[in-house]
């Protein structure tokens, strides 16, 4: 039986509605999770950041003001931000410098060796991050193996623990896989005949890398840098254990506001501040990458 012509568009609409319904159902668990555990807490933080702290340390949801935000431009707070920013930046750069050659090496090996190397990159994840950070505490201590080796060779004892260097070592160690994996993914997809084409067109090895390999692997560089920079900026565990609270970083400063100083509005404002910095950094980074790619 032939359908009347007018039926066709309605059928089409029905099917489109059914499709968007299916899409909604598939996305529902993720939507629910993100709303409850991400969006709502974020709103709470946002609301708290405009609230007032009572003299006893309670947060009063009255008398909305911008006091907490005004404190963000306080020289001390600015210094904490600056220190954290440069530490995260240094961590990211060192991770990039170490990871790129390694990811390149993995991506250009045969399938067997490549899989073994990738598993080796991921092995650290099999044990707890806290435990591994405490292990570094032993390694870096003044009677740890590094210091002992230095003394055995007739040198001075090296005390790394509770210095910024120790924090940097810990951060680089912890975030290295997050840089290696996206870089590997980008390099593994590389069409190596493009590099050959560059060589064929009179580029030496280094120029071919600069003009072809590097720009084409930039999505991996961007992804890896964000995956390292963002958590490094707010890092708390590593500075607390390896830095020994000698220098204040954004992460432990925020924790202090909530737990020690009992100033939830200011802690919230700090959190919002760090988010804005990260958002701005990410956008700028993406833009700069997108233009050249």
């Amino acid at each position: 039986m032939a359908l009347p012509e007018t039926a066709a568009p309605e059928l089409e609409l029905d099917s489109r509605r059914a499709e968007s319904r299916r899409g909604f159902l598939i996305g529902l668990p993720a939507w629910a999770y993100l709303t409850i555990f991400f969006a709502l807490p974020l709103v709470i933080v946002l609301v708290y950041s405009f609230a007032t702290r009572s003299s006893t340390g309670r947060t009063q949801l009255t008398g909305w003001n911008l006091d907490s935000y005004r404190r963000l431009v306080d020289p001390f707070v600015f210094e904490v931000f600056q220190r954290s920013f440069f530490l995260a930046l240094t961590t990211t750069l060192i991770c990039l410098l170490v990871s790129y050659p390694f990811a390149y090496y993995i991506a250009t090996r045969g399938a067997r060796l490549r899989n073994i190397l990738l598993v080796m990159v991921m092995i650290p994840f099999w044990s707890n991050f806290l435990v591994r950070t405490y292990a570094w505490k032993v390694l870096l201590g003044s009677d740890g193996p590094i210091s002992q080796l230095s003394q055995a060779l007739g040198g001075e004892p090296i005390r790394l623990l509770f210095t910024n260097t120790a924090v940097l070592i810990g951060l680089v160690y912890g975030f290295l896989p997050f840089m290696v994996l996206p870089l590997y993914a980008a390099l593994e997809r590389m069409d190596w005949s493009l590099v050959e084409a560059a060589r064929d067109l009179y580029a030496d090895g280094w120029t071919a890398f600069r003009k072809v390999t590097w720009p084409l692997s930039r999505p991996g560089v961007i992804a890896g840098s964000i995956l390292v920079f963002v958590p490094a900026l707010g890092a708390y565990v590593t500075p607390a254990i390896l830095g020994g609270a000698r220098t204040t970083l954004v992460g432990d400063y925020i924790v202090d506001q909530f737990l020690a100083a009992r100033n939830q509005p200011f802690g919230s404002a700090l959190s919002m501040g760090i988010m804005l910095v990260l958002l701005a950094a990410t956008v700028i980074y993406f833009r700069s990458g997108a233009k050249e790619v």
């Binding site: 005949s193 084409a197 560059a198 060589r199 067109l201 580029a203």
Partner: protein
């Protein structure tokens, strides 16, 4: 005396224990369109990559216009390559792709711009200079790859199955275009293909390869009409291969005892293969008059297949099943399945190859 554009002497390339190319001697003349033809894995691409400088010979020597280049890296060789996948830089537009080589060679900006424009006009893509390679069709990408190589005015242009990814019509059009272009620019082309038709229509000379060895070098007619080995005969075009025994320098005996004429270099009594192309065979009714001097074998038509422009006959003879190709035009008699016939051909069409 002019030196060869490309010369290989005793060149081998081994990957571990496996030889991709073995003991290759080859001289390609200046301005020649030379094709390396063979099935996949025969070593033709490895040979090309050694000339380009992407692979280095494990033995032997390689000269480009008389200069030893065997171990020289690709960027220091006066050759350019058109890649099978085109290998256009996706992060640069068409103009930047074509200008890449000139910029690497530090050619001045004005000259670069002029030469790039001329190269793009030559391949009729002057209007797409600002496009990204990913926006172009396969045929257009192919042209950009060609322009990007030719703009450098290389001494030798290397082409690795450049038409492989195009559809049939475009491929045929590009064959003609490439040949015309090569004659115009006068650059030596070394062309790698597994497509015998491409090799036959475009090349001045063809080198047929199999299992890392160069089996035969010759003009297209020589390769087609006078294959030097069973492999070459079988690989290029269609051919009937019948087992035979050498009688003397001018004749062989087929299975079933029939003696046919055709020059042979082999010793009397040796086992050989007689080769003859289907289009060189003619089919006659059993009572028809056949001119003197033609080779003849009797046989029964098993099947006739219609191909539009031609008919193929499978004819069962004591010497084996023979394929005959006859044109579909008035004046050529049709034969039916089951009919007794005679297959006849001129002795000059017979080739005797040793196994």
């Amino acid at each position: 005396m002019r030196k060869a554009a490309v010369e290989l002497a005793g060149v081998s390339k081994a990957f571990g224990d496996v030889y991709a190319v073995r003991d290759m001697d080859l001289a390609i003349a200046d301005g020649e369109f030379f094709s390396l033809l063979g099935p996949s894995g025969c070593g033709k691409t490895t040979t090309l990559r050694m000339v380009a400088g992407f692979e280095f010979p494990t033995a032997g020597a390689l000269w480009i216009h008389g200069v030893e280049m065997g171990l020289e890296p690709a960027n220091r060789r006066p050759v350019n390559t058109v890649f099978q996948s085109y290998a256009l830089f996706p992060h640069m537009n068409v103009e930047e792709n074509v200008a890449f080589g000139l910029r690497m060679k530090k050619v001045g900006a004005t000259e670069t711009a002029e030469r790039v424009k001329r190269a793009l006009d030559m391949v009729q893509l002057g209007h797409r200079a600002d496009a990204s390679p990913t926006q172009l069709s396969g045929g257009q990408q192919q042209r950009v790859a060609l322009a990007r190589a030719l703009v450098n005015e290389p001494e030798v242009l290397l082409l690795d199955e450049p038409l492989g990814a195009l559809d049939l019509k475009l491929r045929q059009a590009m064959q003609v275009e490439l040949k015309v272009l090569q004659e115009r620019v006068g650059i030596t082309f070394v062309y790698v293909t597994h497509d015998q038709e491409e090799a036959l229509t475009m090349s001045d000379r063809i080198g047929v390869m199999n299992e890392g060895r160069l089996l035969q070098i010759g003009r297209p007619e020589e390769i087609y009409e006078r294959p030097a080995s069973r492999f070459v005969a079988d690989f290029i075009g269609e051919i009937n291969l019948l087992p035979a025994t050498v009688v003397d320098h001018y004749s062989v005996r087929l299975l079933g005892g029939q003696v046919v004429r055709g020059s042979t270099g082999a010793e009397p009594g040796s086992e050989v293969t007689m080769a003859v192309r289907p289009e060189r065979l003619e089919l006659f009714g059993s009572n028809e008059h056949i001119a003197d001097g033609l080779n003849q074998i009797r046989g029964t038509v098993v099947r006739r297949t219609y191909y539009g422009d031609v008919f193929y006959y499978d004819v069962d003879t004591p010497a084996g099943v023979v394929e005959v190709k006859e044109e579909n035009r008035p004046g050529v008699d049709l034969h039916e399945a089951g009919e007794s016939t005679v297959v006849a051909w001129d002795p000059s069409a017979t080739t005797v190859v040793e196994d």
